[in-house]
Symmetry: C2
Subunit: 343 residues, 2 copies
């Protein structure tokens, strides 16, 4: 299985990106990686890691897209950037099944839409991060920013795509799908949520459990949380901000607590370390961009090697379980249901 | 100054509610409290506290509104409930300046709208909780659920009302007002945010600093965060949920970490205690319902005496600083600006 990785996207490019790629090919015999970006620098890095295998290929790209670039024009104008070259490979080569980039979110989404295109029948592809939850599992939040103005039909498709993803990547038989609202009762929500709720209730092939409150986003009670991109973004970033806030408050309180507190903190060093790891998005995988014709994972901008490796594994599992064709099937079944209802 | 307190709203009613009222009159000579609810039980509680002063008055009410009641019909049908009796006192008596209730949020909001009514010129009153922030201060989030479908003009008024509140209650000269969005750049946001952004830029008398990300809600970089009620609710509850999640994860990690971890936790007991207190919404004040003709504070359902006391103090400070008339002035000035722009 060939996966293309944008070696020059993200805060820790290219070293951590290349480190993640090496880990993937070392651990999985059937994975081959194509790295895009400045070939000399990539080769230097491969030498740094002392990597000698033949499962990493380099395709040279002289430019880089940064967070300061305007996404759509960067995709159009920076034709020799590591991201655009990666997208072109993904688009043109049938043997390349997916792409991983930790670069500008806007550019990755715009590029995937422009170059790869939507799956037939998908109105709006969506960005869907996996969040750690209190049960030790993962909860998929879809959409978290690709579609800030959404229609009920988009949300229905988000539910179908999110469900197909959790089945594929986490082997869930019947993922619990909930609609992000301002309360659990059926009547809660804004206009969009009311209409989406009615649609989701009659959607075939998903396990829709109703409305949920943002308070329970990380509870582990739900596997797929469906939202328009604006509220989803607010939920994701509020959670991240609150986690940071608590950790910082603990640090401050310990600093102020004298020798007793410092000794306590020392004894709890491992506890805090494992906690930080669990809550650290840079250590977990990336966000799939669901609904485009090939597999695209947007890794966090601050991704380290382990996160890039996890992102590659997300592509691997989506490909192995034929997620895209399963997703298409789900969309078609509901299309038929809707059409027969209309007829 | 007379303030009416619904003695039978909230999980800890009536004891904690009455405890809060007693604290207020004991600490502030110029505060008088009217408690509404079952007179016998209130008297029992006053005896329990051994309260002998004459600054607490009781007005009997035989019914209670619970979270299971449908808000609007409860206000209409339970005429002798502690909340409706309190609202009637607030409405009819000129010497009563404000109301505190820890009862059903829906019933408090519906009751305030139906019985007290909007300030002239206010399109939609808004619920605005104060959140603790990383700078040790408070950030007001307006609206967090009263208006799940909002128009740009509502958001403009939320900004004016929130700003007037922070000036009144926290003596801020020039509160920084930000618009909740999916990024800090001017062009970020959904349709509603785009339109609200343009309006806020030209609003007189507020210090509008632009868009903000939900990640920075608790950063202390903003004093008033403006949002439609749906996204505001998501931001508030995601933050609460994430705080709970981290604290629970710490607890779990300590439990699993053996004798070393337990000793560390013991040494950090005070750190965790003060942290919990800081993050505990039941210890801080309530949410003002801004835009109605009299002062209404909705306390958290799980409020204890200290939170009820803080809520009473919020009414006290809003009244002392003549917040409502200042708020009206701000609305009128912007009305004139808009009308002259139209002319």
């Amino acid at each position: 299985m060939k996966i293309v990785v944008d070696a020059f996207g993200g805060d820790n490019a290219p070293r951590e990106i290349i480190g993640g790629a090496i880990t993937a090919v070392n651990l999985h015999e059937d994975i081959e990686i194509i790295l895009t970006g400045d070939a000399d620098r990539i080769e230097d890095e491969l030498n740094y890691f002392n990597y000698k295998g033949d499962k990493i290929q380099i395709v040279h790209a002289s430019e880089m897209i940064t967070n300061d670039d305007v996404p759509t024009s960067a995709i159009k104008n920076k034709k020799d950037s590591s991201l655009v070259v990666a997208l072109d490979l993904l688009k043109t080569r049938d043997d390349v099944c997916g792409l991983v980039s930790a670069g500008s979110t806007g550019a990755v989404l715009a590029g995937a839409l422009l170059k790869i295109g939507r799956i037939k029948g998908v109105a709006r592809p969506a960005l869907a991060p996996e969040l750690p939850n209190a049960k030790g599992g993962k909860t998929l939040l879809i959409d978290c920013g690709a579609n800030v103005d959404s229609k009920p039909q988009y949300l229905q498709q988000f539910a179908l795509m999110g469900s197909a993803y959790m089945k594929a990547v986490h082997n869930m038989e019947n993922p619990r799908v909930a609609l992000l609202s301002n309360g659990v009762e059926d009547k809660k929500g804004n206009e969009l949520v009311h209409e989406a709720f009615a649609l989701l209730k009659q959607t075939e092939g998903i396990n829709f459990v109703g409305n949920m409150e943002a308070r329970d986003l990380l509870s582990g009670e739900y596997d797929v949380v469906v939202s328009d991109g604006f509220a989803g973004n607010v939920a994701l970033k509020s959670s991240e901000g609150a986690v940071q806030f608590v950790l910082q408050e603990i640090k401050n309180a310990i600093t102020q607590s004298g020798i007793r507190g410092k000794l306590g903190a020392l004894l709890l060093k491992n506890v805090f370390k494992s906690l930080k790891k669990k809550l650290n998005y840079t250590q977990s995988g990336g966000s799939p961009f669901l609904g485009v014709q090939k597999l695209v994972i947007k890794s966090h901008g601050s991704s380290k090697a382990m996160s890039i490796y996890e992102s590659i594994m997300q592509v691997y599992r989506m490909h192995e379980s034929q997620m895209i064709s399963n997703l298409q099937k789900g969309l078609q079944e509901n299309d038929q249901v809707e059409n027969s209802a209309k007829a």
